[in-house]
Every structure is written in C-alpha cells, then in structure tokens.
Amino acid sequence: MAENIKNSIKVWRAARDMTQEELARRVGVTRQTIIAIEKNRYAPSLELAFRIARVFGESVENVFRYEEGGEAR
C-alpha cells in the first residue's frame, strides 16, 4: 500500500469529465494502474506523477500530497 502518498486524481478526473481509460491512454499506462493509484494502493513514479498532473494542467502538489505518519515503504 502507498500509505504516505495520497492523491486527488478522482476529483480532477470528475472535474474534467475524464474516464480512467482516457487518462490511462493519455499518460501511457494501463487502466489498472490508474485504478491502483486512485485507491492509494500504488505510489506512482515521479515521472508518472508529473505526467498525470500535466494532463490535468495542475502542479504535482495539487494532485499528489505526502502525508507524514504512515508506514514508509
């Protein structure tokens, strides 16, 4: 579990009326990876985080946040 890194991909996707499939296609990953990231079960690489943020036209900090206190991986 990526317990320290949380994200608001679902919110940004809903705001832009974008499906998981479309986001996955635009950042070049599988839909399963987007699902895993949205559920905070997988922490994406820095490169993928930047790609996702760029799709939404936001900074990485607006899409992903690091929360102290969780179990470090």
């Binding site: 070049g28 990953v29 990876t33 993928l48």
Partner: protein, 137 residues
C-alpha cells in the same frame, strides 16, 4: 481496446477468445489424430496472430506498475525456488548416502549446483542493473 483495420473494429478481447479457441481446437485435433506438426502449427500461428493484433491495437500492455510487480514476483520466485531446490538437494544427498544409491545422490548434487548457479546469476544481474541505475561500488 479496439483495433481499427480496413474500417472494421475488432475487439481485442474477442480476438483473444477466438485465437485461444483456434489453438485449443488445433491442438485437440492434432493430439487425437497423432499429428504433432498440426498442433505445433496451430500454436505458432496463434502466437503470431496475437502478437500482430497486440501490436496493431496500440493498447498499453505494460507500464511501471507491471514492471514493479514483475520484479517483486521474480524475486519471490527466486527465493522460493532456491530454498525449495536447496532443501530438495540436501534431502536427495542424504537419502542417496544412506541408501547407497549413487543416482539419487548425484541428482541432489546437480540440484545443489543449480541453486548455486541461480544465486550467481541473480547476483550478477542485480549488480548489472544496480550499476545501470547509478549504483557505485
């Protein structure tokens, strides 16, 4: 998920089912008629067709998460198989020595060498990739 070819949209999942059915049917016919070449041809044609369909579909099949999972699965497989083969080799060597069966003891020795080779290959590839990704020694 879809493949656009000559104006026809082919679903990749449907193609997988079709190819699997074709391969199963060919292997079944080849096995029942005793024709090994027919079964082999079916498998090869099926594999080639699926490779072609996947390439043309443009769908993403692998990404960093799949790579990470593959790495973890490979490491778990390495540990499990090394321990299993190591214990099996010890068992065969002891059984072979106690019963005086040289064949079983030799089999245990071969397993033991395979485990050593496995560990050596793992160490070499690990160091190679470590260096590729910036590790210094």
């Amino acid at each position: 998920m879809t493949l656009h070819s000559a104006g026809v949209v082919v679903n990749l999942r449907r193609a997988k089912i079709l190819v699997t059915s074709f391969v199963c049917a060919t292997v079944a016919v080849g096995a029942t008629s005793g024709n090994m070449y027919l079964a082999l041809a079916g498998i090869v044609i099926g594999a080639l067709f699926m490779a072609l369909v996947r390439r043309r579909s443009g769908e993403v099949h692998t990404d960093e998460r799949v790579d990470a999972l593959g790495g973890r699965a490979a490491r778990a497989t390495f540990v499990i198989m090394s321990v299993f083969l190591g214990l099996l080799s010890l068992f065969f060597i002891f059984i072979g020595r106690n019963t005086g069966d040289g064949g079983i003891e030799a089999l245990g020795t071969v397993f033991c060498y395979i485990v050593c080779l496995n560990c050596a290959v793992y160490s070499i590839t690990f160091k190679y990739f470590d260096r590729e990704h910036g590790g210094e020694y």
